[in-house]
Amino acid sequence: MEQARIGVFVCDCGLNIASTVDCGAVALAAEEMPDVACVVRNKYTCADPGQNEIKKAIAEHGLNRVVVASCSPRMHEPTFRNCVEEAGVNPYLMEMVNLREHCSWVHTNQKEAATRKAIDLVRAGVARAGLLEAQEEAQVPVTRAALVIGGGITGIQAALDLANGGHQVYLVEKEASIGGLMAKLDKTYPTMDCSI
């Protein structure tokens, strides 16, 4: 495997992270970690300027791994995967470290402990990043039909929208007629029109 050159991007997330975690200390600690070629601190890493910093650093330092220490990967993993891919790095060579949901937001009054935790999380992220491998995603064809379970007002509307959009729809209803609960109502608010 080629020698890892890791860039670590520590995000303040405005004050979301920085008001609890000492992001400066995290960045300093990251500089000492193995294979780290550069450390950048951002106000908002997910915003365009933040992403541009990542791309710039990849070009300048010849980075082949990226660690983004910001929020949950469940939130922004696709964002940063796209970002590094645009800069020519395989998206699977990007690792996220969750300093927000799992740290600053839940340890608001434990600033020191939260900073220590943040450094530990970044150290683990960097260690993992060094061993990441490029991956190719599979493209799979999609069956152009939809199943709608439930024939109440919601299911009917969803089925019609999909069908009008040109898709084949299977609308499955457990009762003998569609209509659901709404068909049992006389009038519905805020207008007073008939429900059927």
Partner: protein
């Protein structure tokens, strides 16, 4: 309804239930049970001759049991499909001595007593779950007398009684004596916003539904005297406040306070409502001819079944969980599945229609794209290391590993079927399986790096991506404070967590290790987390044998919605952590180091043997 029934691209399957869904985003295979209707809906012209001769009377479900139907019947006049159905539980049967009258009079010959359930199978790319809601059963609030007092009805019965298509043709009468009630009381929040009966959440629709009911009554019978007992009137939507004001201007009295009890006068059937008016602080009594209980919304009964079919999650209140409450409100955690309508949360018609449109658009985007990218989390088997034991194939929840017992060729992975839980990887005793993007080496490096500094302060945690890690995110979003000792490592499934990783964390000085995953029914890899349990049980045994307190390894199920539980777990574990002494950790590290050295020696021996074999083979 009609449009859906006749749309050329909508295959309508009524009296049908989804029995099985397999596959993955873009490629689901569906099995639907189409229950026997005993009437051919293609031929039936809904002439109604069969109904005239059917001798069986049963309460009519559509009319909330306020009138009767026959064993053969049409669900309601505007039903789609417009066809009769024969309820076999009610029917006397085709034995001529017993009955068979309907079949005799049916000119189109569309009644078939031998009709049977059929299974239909088809493929789809996307699924929309819109299974709706149930209505709270007011019998659960005994002090209001629903079910005991004839003139206490619920809001669904009100709908039928005021409807021109209802059992009384729209003449609003009370059940006990069929007289027209003039003094009518409405009780709000029945089964909602209560810690005693029903649920704590607000059912969203009941306030405005009652406002609408009072206006309907005023329109039909201007002399009606309506009073509404409420907690707060929530008239927050477009045009709602105006409607509420109109109701008040028309003379409806709104009294803040929920009745403590309702009594019936047995002589008149009238009802006496006892209530504390919380605006005046006075105890009041009101007499009514009829009381309407404004019942709340409950999650649908089918939820568990559908949840399991599609591995969805639910919130603590029992409705289905979306991927993100604000940014992905209709995406289910399972890709390619969308949720809409009341199964997501109680909502009115307009919101249901909006959400249906959103879900259809999201599903439509996926279908129109024609192709979908699958994340590269699949496993690979190294044929050279593989010992052909077949354990991986045994534990794979997707049967994605083909293994033939006794065959000389090692098992192979069907990549399209592999969902990436990684259970096979942690079950393989020979280290022959590589889980892409979650390799042993990557995770081990994380463990070592995390515990490199002050391991004593850490509660070392393995969390599955879908539930426990997301539960931690939920704790974050909700700012639920907890001790800062937790250190999480994410794997896709708790089933990926290798026994050796847990031992490694202890060996590196962790005082506590937590393994956390989805609740059983929520597991995103069918039942891969059952392997987690087996593994933890084995680990507890092993720790005990090594003289390490098993309590230092904990297993918790935390769902994506359970931010509170996540925070609570760490509060409890912190207490455990503080009880683990430095000496205890040193002892553990010593014992496990010795074990580790033994293991390394064993592995070296095995590797040498393998090398010898390969050399022999080449020679």
């Amino acid at each position: 309804m009609m449009d859906a029934g006749r749309h050329s691209r909508v295959s309508l399957m009524t009296l049908s239930e989804v029995e099985e869904i397999t596959g993955y985003v873009g490629n689901f295979h569906v099995k639907v049970r189409r229950k026997a209707r005993y009437v051919d809906s293609g031929k039936c012209t809904a002439c109604g001759e069969c109904v005239n001769v059917c001798p069986v009377l049963r309460p009519d479900e559509y009319q909330s049991g306020l009138s009767t139907r026959k064993a053969i019947h049409i669900p309601f006049a505007q039903a789609v499909p417009s066809s009769y159905i024969l309820n076999m539980d009610d029917c006397l049967g085709n034995n001529p001595i017993a009955c068979g009258k309907c079949a005799e009079v049916c000119e189109k010959d569309c009644i078939d007593f031998n009709d049977q359930d059929r299974i239909e199978e088809f493929d789809v790319g996307a699924v929309v779950v819109a299974i709706g809601m149930d209505v709270f059963d007011a019998r659960e609030v005994p002090e209001y007398g629903y079910g005991r007092y004839q003139n206490v009805i619920d809001s669904m019965e009100f709908e039928r009684l005021i409807c021109a298509g209802g059992p009384t043709g729209g003449h609003f009468v009370r059940p006990s004596d069929r007289s027209r009630p003039v003094r009518i009381g409405f009780v709000q929040c029945v089964g909602s916003r209560s810690r005693v009966h029903g649920a704590e959440y607000c059912s969203n629709i009941c306030c405005m539904n009652t406002v609408k009911d009072t206006l309907l009554l005023g329109e039909h019978y201007p002399d009606t005297e309506s009073k509404v007992f409420y907690t707060d009137i929530r008239a927050f939507g477009k045009g709602f406040e105006e409607m509420y004001n109109r109701s008040r201007e028309e003379g409806v009295k709104y009294i803040r306070g929920l009745p403590g009890e309702i009594e019936e006068d047995p002589a008149t059937g009238n009802l006496l409502v006892h209530v504390e008016n919380t605006l005046t602080g006075e105890l009041e009594e009101h007499e009514f001819d009829l009381v309407v209980l404004s019942v709340g919304v409950r999650p649908p009964k089918d939820r568990d079944r559908i949840q399991k079919l599609l591995t969805l999650s639910k919130t603590p209140s029992g409705f289905l969980m979306e991927s993100h409450p604000k940014l992905m409100p209709v995406d289910a955690p399972t890709r390619g599945v969308y949720i809409a309508g009341c199964v997501e949360a109680p909502k009115d018609v307009k919101e249901s229609v909006c959400q249906a449109g959103t879900a259809a658009a999201r599903a439509g985007n996926l279908l129109s794209a024609g192709e979908v990218t699958i994340e590269a989390y699949t496993c690979r088997i190294d044929a050279e290391i593989c010992n052909n034991c077949g354990q991986c194939a045994k534990v794979c929840p997707y049967h994605a590993i083909s293994f033939v017992k006794g065959a000389k060729t090692p098992p192979t992975v069907v990549e399209a079927a592999c969902a990436g839980c990684g259970t096979c990887g942690s079950e393989c005793r020979f280290g022959a399986i590589t889980m892409r993007h979650f390799t042993d080496q990557q995770i081990e490096a994380q463990i070592d790096a995390m515990l490199a500094v002050d391991p004593m302060d850490q509660i070392f945690t393995f969390a599955c991506n879908w539930c426990s890690y997301a539960g931690g995110d939920m704790a974050g979003i909700s700012r639920l404070q907890h001790p800062a000792s937790g250190r999480l490592i994410r794997t896709m499934c708790s089933g990926r967590v290798d026994e050796s990783w847990v031992l490694r964390a202890f060996r590196k000085g962790a005082p506590m290790v937590l393994l956390s995953g989805c609740h059983f029914a929520d597991c995103h890899y069918i039942d891969a987390n059952r392997q987690t349990v087996k593994r933890v049980l084995r680990l507890w045994d092993k720790l005990e044998k090594l003289g390490i307190r098993p309590e230092r390894l904990q297993l918790e199920w935390i769902s994506a919605a359970e931010g509170q539980k996540f925070a609570k777990v760490f509060q409890v574990l912190e207490e455990h952590r503080l009880r683990v002494t430095k000496e205890e950790i040193e002892q553990t590290v010593k014992v496990l180091e010795e074990e580790h050295l033994k293991k390394l020696a064993r592995e070296a021996k095995q590797a040498a043997k393998r090398a010898e074999k390969t050399a022999e083979a080449t020679a």
